[in-house]
């Protein structure tokens, strides 16, 4: 029995030692708790925000967009755009090196761009799928060691910002790797290099160059929101993303961490599907009338939705563009159900004997956006209050709702969010760049919007562009295809030992984080 007792004591002691070894974070390390697994380090296959937030520390880009929308040089020091707007010529900073020791030159930049586009690689990440599609990327050519030319198919006012999202990687290493190797062995020129990756568990980065305060960055995958909060309050992580609104108060009361709430750049809206097939559906005919769409703007109490369901005070959106770049003359639609009823009556949709004006289907996906299911329920109730008989259809996000969205086959009402930016109003507006754009889920086709894009391209100065943009945004505000809601807030839990400020664009960059 004494032997057994000794064994038990020894086991308990070793576990206590093991436990003490996993205590607080050291001063040269910063730990971030992420909500979703990452899947790859292949720079041309990155598509999720969490994945991008990690690899941005490993790979550099030509320019970098700051949290306030300002642009700073990164690998490139200068840019010249050809008169026809089809060639972007970057001058690179001399002396940059890759993690494999090779000098980073224009050849690496050109290789990075061309490799991402190569159909043989079948990459589906942000670079080939979003950036290249949006700018009409043709090819990239190294003019000399420090000069690279990026060619696009047509002039594009937001090409600069989009090209700044492409990760530059190192040709010598990648040319020698298979695609499978490239998915686990990132070779960039950034401040940090990958030390280890345990899928589903953690990623460890190590500093190799400035900028960067901490020697090590550890990303821990913690899918459950309450577990992330507990780890933050226990002092085991420094930053957590996607704090649930109902946990904000607990974290703030802990005394060891605080929640930073920021108004993000993701535009949340209810879309009106105005396509012909949907016009034939119940309610689809009603929303074809801009007066009906305008009436419904008054039916939703967006500030209350924000305060009660998102735990964040918000000002209602006035349109498709983030506030700093929006039409400053526009004021948010107020919550005025009496006005909504009056306008619906005037539009020819009075309440019938059953109390309803018309029936309409409202579709949404769940589990993608902040408290989305409850937000949708609230919106449905507000619309019901003004006489719409809502047939609510909330479905699984990934495999059911997304295919419908991508086929532009949701509605007549649908709930959706679209990522935005602060560096240009045109970035936000290009969701509706063309009538047949893949992102024009509403099938809106008002020529007062779409015909003006040519005017923007022809404008000689930013001031001229701004006039046109404001006119377009007025049209969108009056007769647009969105029921304006809010810009989704983001909640970050930040340890009291850390000095770090969250950005509104969901980018979690740690270069400038310091200890208090």
């Amino acid at each position: 029995m004494s032997k057994t007792r000794s064994l038990l004591v020894a086991s308990a002691a070793s576990m206590v030692l093991a436990g003490s070894a996993m205590a607080q974070v050291s001063d040269d390390t910063i730990v971030v708790g992420l909500s979703a697994d990452i899947t790859t380090f292949e720079p041309a296959a990155i598509s999720s925000r969490d994945n991008a937030n990690i690899v941005r520390h490993i790979f550099d880009t030509l320019f970098s967009i700051e949290g306030d929308g300002s642009v700073v040089p990164d690998l490139a020091t200068d840019l010249a755009i050809s008169d026809d707007g089809l060639a972007y010529v970057y001058t690179l900073e001399a002396g940059r090196t890759c993690h494999d020791g090779e000098a980073l030159t224009a050849e690496d930049v050109a290789y990075s761009f061309n490799r991402a586009k190569d159909p043989a690689n079948a990459f589906t990440g942000n670079t080939p799928g979003f950036v290249f599609s949006s700018v009409g990327f043709v090819d990239a050519v190294a003019l000399d060691d420090l000069t690279v030319q990026i060619n696009i198919a047509a002039p594009n006012p937001i090409a600069f910002g989009l090209l700044a999202e492409v990760y530059v990687h190192c040709m010598d290493s990648y040319a020698a790797m298979t695609l499978e190797q490239a998915a686990t062995t990132p070779i960039g020129s950034g401040s940090y290099r990958l030390v280890s990756w345990t899928p589903g568990s953690e990623v460890v980065l190590e500093k190799v160059a400035d900028p960067g305060t901490f020697q090590n960055i550890v990303y821990r995958i913690i899918p459950e929101a309450s577990t992330r909060s507990a780890e933050l309050m226990a002092g085991n992580v420094d930053i957590i993303t996607n704090v649930a609104p109902d946990q904000v108060d607990a974290i703030n009361a802990s005394g060891v961490a605080a929640v930073q709430s920021v108004q993000g750049t993701r535009r949340m809206y209810v879309g009106f599907n105005l396509s012909e097939p949907f016009a034939a559906m119940p309610g689809g005919d009603a929303i074809q009338n801009p007066d009906v769409r305008r009436a419904l703007q008054y039916a939703i109490d967006v500030p209350t939705i924000c305060a009660q369901l998102l735990n964040f005070p918000c000002e209602r959106a006035t349109g498709i563009v983030n506030p700093p770049n929006a039409n400053q003359a526009l004021t948010p639609y107020p919550y005025d159900p009496a006005m909504a009823e009056q306008l619906l009556d005037a539009a020819g949709w009075p309440r019938l004997d059953d109390g309803n004006r018309f029936t309409i289907r409202f579709q949404a996906g769940k589990g993608r956006y902040l408290n989305d299911e409850n937000v949708v329920l609230a919106i449905a109730q507000y619309l019901s209050d003004v006489g719409l008989n809502i047939e609510l259809d909330v479905m699984e996000w990934g495999s059911v709702y997304v295919p419908l969205i991508r086929q532009r086959n949701v509605g007549p009402l649908f709930f959706l969010g679209s990522g935005g930016a602060l560096w240009s109003p045109l970035y936000d507006m290009t969701d509706l760049a063309k009538v047949d754009s893949g992102t024009n889920y509403t099938h809106w086709s008002d020529p007062r919007w779409f015909d003006r894009w040519a005017d923007i391209a022809a404008a000689n100065t930013p001031e001229e562009q701004r006039v046109i943009i404001d006119e377009m945004l007025q049209v969108f505000y009056d007769d647009g295809p969105w029921l304006h809601l809010y810009f989704q807030p983001d909640f970050y839990g930040v340890s009291g030992r850390l000095n770090w400020t969250a950005r509104p664009d969901e980018k979690v960059y740690l270069f400038n984080a310091t200890l208090n």
Binding site: L17, A45, S47, A122, G129, F130, T198, S226, S399
Partner: protein, 324 residues
């Protein structure tokens, strides 16, 4: 016995084929998965290019038969998300789940048997009542709620145990890195305790009740009365005679539960950030990463079939009345 084994192995091939077919059809019922892999700004041509590259343009029966032909040759395809061999991804996550499952089963069975025996021996007493009340709660409380409460109380408030995460033991062991594996062992167990209790508490409760009812049935039989009348100690009667017969149904239940837990601990893996196969499959289904889902289904099916075979063999070994 060997005839039995060979027959079961042949049956298992049919079972695995059936499982792959059902999972394939189920995944296809959500529609074209191409849209989940392309940007929202992709043109129709780009979508078609990706559809062709991923093989989704072929008729479904061709996709399935091609898949079967490939797996016969050991090619389980590449993960659409990870862009690495799907089977490697699955086998990489499996050790974590095996660790959790083994430890939780150890916790459950090592307590369920004595609890059930004592409850049966002291039937009708306060001890019996307490154990059965615990068992009732254990079967009523959702494991995810229990996990979260344990995190808050033992992890955050008392700081007795790590809140989340895993320190691997089996993975380095399988890779032959014994120094790392055994160096990790204390910490690995330390990280296992809370999730294993959260998972195993339900099993503990159910098996305790099963052992109790089985013991009560056996303790009332003639051979037990005969053993007592021969002067054998009560302890020997219970352990050597009664329990040996009473735990037969438990053996069956253990085999079934182990297989179930391997694929069914996704909630606990999520709560405790455990990088196991349950979470992997759940994410793969959401992302329509078909090769990973298919590879996972095959692996879990093989394990489940093997476990059932082992359980049947053990059952036949310990109960001479059972003929294979």
């Amino acid at each position: 016995m060997w005839t039995f084994v060979v027959r079961r192995l042949l049956q298992s091939v049919i079972v695995i084929l059936g499982v792959t077919l059902i999972s394939f059809i189920s995944l296809q019922m959500g529609g074209d998965p191409t849209f989940l892999f392309v940007s929202e700004r992709a043109s129709a041509e780009e979508i078609e290019m990706i559809r062709r590259a991923l093989g989704f343009d072929r008729p479904l029966h061709i996709q399935y038969l091609t898949y079967l032909w490939n797996i016969v040759q050991g090619d389980f395809g590449n993960s659409l998300s990870y862009r690495q061999p799907a089977m490697n991804i699955v086998l990489g996550a499996l050790p974590a789940t095996i660790e959790l499952t083994l430890f939780s089963m150890f916790f459950a069975i090592s307590l369920a048997i004595p609890f059930g025996v004592f409850a049966a021996i002291y039937r009708g007493t306060a001890l019996d009542g307490s154990i059965m009340t615990m068992a009732m709660f254990g079967q009523s409380i959702p494991s995810f709620w229990m996990g979260i409460m344990m995190i808050l109380f033992f992890g955050l408030y008392l700081q007795w145990f790590p809140i989340s995460g895993q320190v691997p033991f089996l993975m380095p062991l399988f890779q032959g890195d014994f120094a790392t594996a055994f160096g990790n062992l204390p910490s690995s167990i330390y990280h296992l305790i809370m999730p294993a209790v959260a998972v195993g508490f339900y099993s503990l409760s159910r098996n305790a009740r099963l052992v109790r009812s089985s013991m009560l049935e056996v303790l009332g039989q003639d051979f037990v009365r005969t053993a007592r009348s021969k002067g054998i100690s009560e302890r020997a009667v219970v352990v050597n005679h009664a329990l040996r017969n009473a735990w037969l149904p438990v053996v069956t239940m253990i085999g079934l539960e182990f297989g179930f837990l391997l694929g069914g601990v996704v909630v606990i893996e999520t709560v405790f950030s455990w990088p196991g196969i349950g979470r992997l499959v759940f994410n793969a289904i959401n992302q329509r990463d078909i090769p990973v889902v298919q590879a996972s289904v095959i692996v879990l099916s093989v394990i489940f079939i093997a476990l059932n075979l082992i359980v049947d063999l053990i059952y036949a070994r310990i109960d001479p009345r059972v003929k294979l």
